[in-house]
Amino acid sequence: MMGGRVGVHIRPSGPDAAIDAAGADADAVLRRIAAWAGILTRFADTSELTRLNADARAEVPVGPTLAAVVDWGRSAEGLTGGIVDIGLLDARLAAEGLGVESVAPGAGAAQPSFASRSWSLDRRARGAVVRRPRGLRFDLDGVGKGWLADRALDRLDGYQAAVVDADGDVAIRLGPDAAWSFGIADPRLDGHDLEVLELTTRDESRDRADGRFGLATSGTSVHRWDRGATPSHHLIDPRTRRPAVTDVIQATVLARTARHAEALAKSAVILGSAAGYAFLDRIGVDGAVLLTDRDELLIHPATMRWLA
């Protein structure tokens, strides 16, 4: 799925028959996710995103799924002060050594360039029309997975607890008196966790009214390429249009939805530990764990009540 893996976990509350039904529902959700991913991926020539990126017209009509994710991309941009920017595909491909390097006007400036604000989305009854300057191409790898996880979870409301894991961006819903444990993978050591969070609706002091959570992890240590003397990775800083220079190796955020958690985790990595931590604190996350290149683990106080 969009270059990653997806998992659906369901906890039925009934007898064995409910387990069979849960398996069928999980399969149906997986098929739905595959259909959405087929629209949003940039790794298939036939996807709607690929066709949009290749379209030479200034205005391109798009279907409802692509419109919804691009719309969320715009919202994420506003949420993060422009740090999340879905209009940076060319900069990412340049970082991978797959495209022509582009440098934004005013690169290196302290303020975001907000280059992607040159595009707009005109919502219609069904779908939307995307307007963008010639050559601007979208990258939905990040925002798309969180969106997929949240949308898929909506289809599993009938179960006591359900989790949709879209390649590390996790949407969670816990019914009354439920608990579920989540490991935060340690990027330095396969098979090991930095921490384990136990999300629960059992303890009244830790109760969440709707039982919904989003958990996502972003970092620079997986999609990483060594090009010359400067290591390169996939998280592009919109202020420079180059891979972010950051001391954060990995950031994990617990928020209300997977798409929010993904956008906030990515921003924390790009901003660096000091500014990123302050940003998360200001936004008001439900938890955050940052690993720095000094082997420090910065744990936001909101996280403490979930630590197993």
Binding site: R11, D141, G168, W180, G183, I184, A185, D193, L215
Partner: protein, 136 residues
Amino acid sequence: MTHASPRAVARPVPTTTATRPLSPVRDGLPAPTRKPRPDPGPLRIAIGLTGLATASALMTAFLNPATGADAATGAATTSTVTIVPGATPDPVHVRHVVQYVQLKPGQTAPPKAVVKQAPAPKPRVVVVTTKQSGKP
């Protein structure tokens, strides 16, 4: 200030000389025949094989100590001997007491064993891991 330097002292090397008086030769008599001695070869081979067997047994004890129970079959034993390498040359006797054997489906308990039912499984809490995208 002077330092006393070590002196080399030549010490006489002790030597030993073994002498044996020659056997008297009795004129006109044939020289006495020596009593034939047994061939030492087979005995040496036997001693060598015994040493090899001992070394093999010791290595087996080191590398694969016997256990008190054969979990695959459910058969239980109460003691065994394990040789622990260390400063003490004597083998250390370790007594293994089998507290319980978990029976697999189809296995029967050893005679006189007390059989207890396993507790009911607790609700499973699946651990899902959040990680950077693309990480296997």
